[in-house]
């Protein structure tokens, strides 16, 4: 499982990086926001979808990365240490369970890759759970604080929704909070949230543009993309590629939305062949739209709260400024043709399930080494130094039960254990010590092992030739 997660992660990063490279090149010109958006969307999708089809491509070890080598080395270190203990000490289940390893021994036994994967997954779980909880709180607040929209606002919203092509007008929510107009969805109906300050201080012809912008977001299903983005951001919380991809996705999404508002709500496009007065009208409408966005920003944050220039981030206002420029000159951007979009989608969906990396199958580990890895066996003694032989596998409890019920001789007991260990060794080569311990605990609890030890004396199969054992239950 760990190897699969590791392999899938490496593959996803490679494929997502390829998409991101082309998306970055395309996005630099700012002329193809739709295609740029599609490519960045595929970057996000690739980060969260597993590879399905393997290509004979790059072997992980060629990248200088190998989980198998790490595991084998760890296993060998572990097995040598355990074999040494097995020869010279009683079985570990007879040793006080509170005995501690020194720090260096502990470090040597950690599988670094497993640790990284576990840490990453734990972080994802915490982040996703915490952010979802905050989203639920936000939703509760929205519901409790919502003011119903007036009939005038609803009528304008219905008219815009029809023009844009929405089957159903989203739920309009007005709020006293000075928050940005937004689209919000957490199941059920989509909410379009508008701050009351905008309705109060802007004319209907101004806030109409703002409402249109949010409705175009709903039309584009951007509220669904938010959840995909949320999942990718949570799973890849440590990955700068994910951070950058999400930021670029938002930037291009807003540009697409602005283009959508202008193209849907102006009479015709801004093409050079349009009549002059019509072009002038459309330019005037684009300017009104840009003005509305800027007014929203000015109204939302009162002057004393606006941060000074020194505290602005490098691109703060940069995207808004670029958006305003794009809105004023919509002919600078090219809308992707249907063919371009279809080609992009087909190319991306073809590449999405492919895996370019794989883990080469490792040769079976030497039997003399593997025979030393059975730390979980409670009756492990010098019998584990025997070579691996093929034998019948049976559950350890069944083996013990058979021993107790059938009154086997010492030699027969020894052979039963040897067969079981031989079969188990081959299956347990790749397991870490922790997994073996967990399995041992699952098989036996300490009391059960102590009880068994009373019934099957330790020396009974350490020295099968011994005939003088008076406490052995095999004696007559």
């Amino acid at each position: 499982m760990e190897n699969y997660i590791y392999q899938a992660s490496i593959n996803n990063i490679i494929v997502a990086s390829i998409f991101a490279f082309f998306a970055y090149l395309l996005g630099r010109s700012s002329k193809h926001p739709q295609l740029s958006y599609l490519l960045w969307f595929f970057v996000i999708i690739k980060l969260i979808t597993p590879p399905i089809i393997s290509l004979p491509g790059i072997e992980l070890s060629q990248l200088g990365i190998s989980t198998q080598q790490v595991s084998a080395h760890t296993a060998q270190t572990l097995s040598e240490g355990v074999a040494h203990q097995a020869i010279n000490q009683p079985p570990h289940w007879l040793i006080d369970s509170n005995s501690s390893y020194d720090f260096i021994s502990w470090l040597q036994k950690i599988d670094i890759i497993s640790f990284i994967i576990s840490f990453s997954l734990l972080g994802s779980l915490i982040i996703l759970a915490h952010s979802f909880y905050k989203a639920l709180r936000f939703h509760q607040l929205i519901k409790s604080e919502a003011h119903p929209a007036t009939a005038e606002i609803k009528a304008i919203a219905d008219e815009l929704a029809q023009t844009i092509g929405l089957k159903k007008t989203p739920l309009l929510t007005l709020t006293t909070a000075s928050i940005s107009p937004m689209v919000w969805w957490i199941g059920g109906r989509v909410h379009v949230i508008l701050p009351l300050v905008i309705i109060d201080q802007m004319t209907p012809s101004q806030w109409r543009w703002v409402l249109a912008h949010e409705l175009v977001h709903v039309k584009r299903l951007d509220h669904l993309v938010r959840w995909i983005e949320w999942l990718a951001g949570g799973l890849w919380w440590w990955n700068p590629l994910a951070w950058y991809a999400r930021k670029q996705l938002r930037i291009h999404e807003e540009r697409c939305c602005d283009n959508g508002v202008i193209s849907l709500l102006t009479t015709t496009g801004h093409h050079a062949n349009a009549p002059v007065n019509l072009r002038a009208h459309n330019i005037s409408q684009s300017r009104d739209y840009a003005e509305s966005i800027l007014t929203v920003v000015e109204k939302l944050v009162s002057p004393e709260h606006r941060p000074p220039t020194q505290t602005s981030q490098i691109n703060s206002g940069g995207q808004l400024e670029l958006r305003i420029k794009m809105i004023l000159n919509p002919s600078r951007t090219k809308k992707a043709t249907k063919r371009q979009q279809v080609v992009a989608i087909i190319a991306a969906t073809t590449l999405l399930p492919l895996s370019f990396t794989y883990v080469k199958a490792q040769p079976q580990v030497n039997s003399s080494t593997s025979s030393k890895t059975n730390v979980s066996k409670p009756h492990e003694t010098s019998s584990t130094q025997q070579k691996v032989t093929s034998g019948d596998h049976s559950d350890i409890k069944s083996v013990l039960k058979e021993i107790l019920v059938k009154e086997l001789t010492d030699q027969e007991i020894k052979e039963r254990f040897n067969k079981y260990f031989a079969t188990e060794t081959a299956r347990k080569n790749q397991r870490t010590k922790q997994e073996k311990k967990v399995q041992a605990d699952a098989y036996f609890d300490k009391n059960e092992m102590l009880q068994l030890s009373k019934l099957i004396p330790l020396h009974a199969y350490q020295n099968p030739e011994s005939q003088n054992c008076t406490s052995c239950h095999k004696q007559n």
């Binding site: 905050k134 006293t176 919000w184 949320w230 300017r287 606006r306 206002g317 004023l328």
Partner: protein
């Protein structure tokens, strides 16, 4: 400068909820309304909560005929709106809760940025006129 709104503890919010319904009220009336079955034992609790609310600026008091009347200093909608704004700011600016599609990220726009963008619009209008 406007104080940053704070979140109230549940007990404080309960007092405030009562005042939103029944203001102006004396401390005794509040205690009888919020802790109806507990008698004078909760007088101290209600006094402490009212003091905290007053310190935080959520409640004002006025002396009327030897008793103090308490009033909420903001409406329920304003309080909830502030809570929503705080949570929205956290959600929209937080890296791990990108669940909102919003028009602008307002907190990142400086005065100079707005001024520069305004000039762009004015120049565009001048060019088209």
């Amino acid at each position: 400068m406007k104080e940053k709104p704070t979140t109230l503890a549940n007990a404080e919010l309960t007092i405030l909820e009562y005042l939103w319904k029944s203001a102006p009220s004396t401390a005794r009336e509040i205690r009888e309304g919020v802790y109806p079955d507990q008698g004078a034992a909760q007088n101290g609790t209600v006094q402490r909560l009212l003091q905290r609310l007053e310190t935080k600026g959520f409640v004002t008091r006025k002396r009327v005929s030897n008793v103090y009347n308490f009033n909420p200093s903001l409406t329920r909608e304003t309080y909830l709106g502030n809570q929503l704004e705080n949570l929205a700011s956290t959600l929209t600016e937080g890296s791990f809760a990108p669940l909102i599609t919003h028009l602008v990220e307002k907190n990142k726009i400086s005065s100079d940025d707005i001024k520069r963008i305004r000039e762009i619009l004015d120049q565009d209008q001048g060019g088209n006129n």
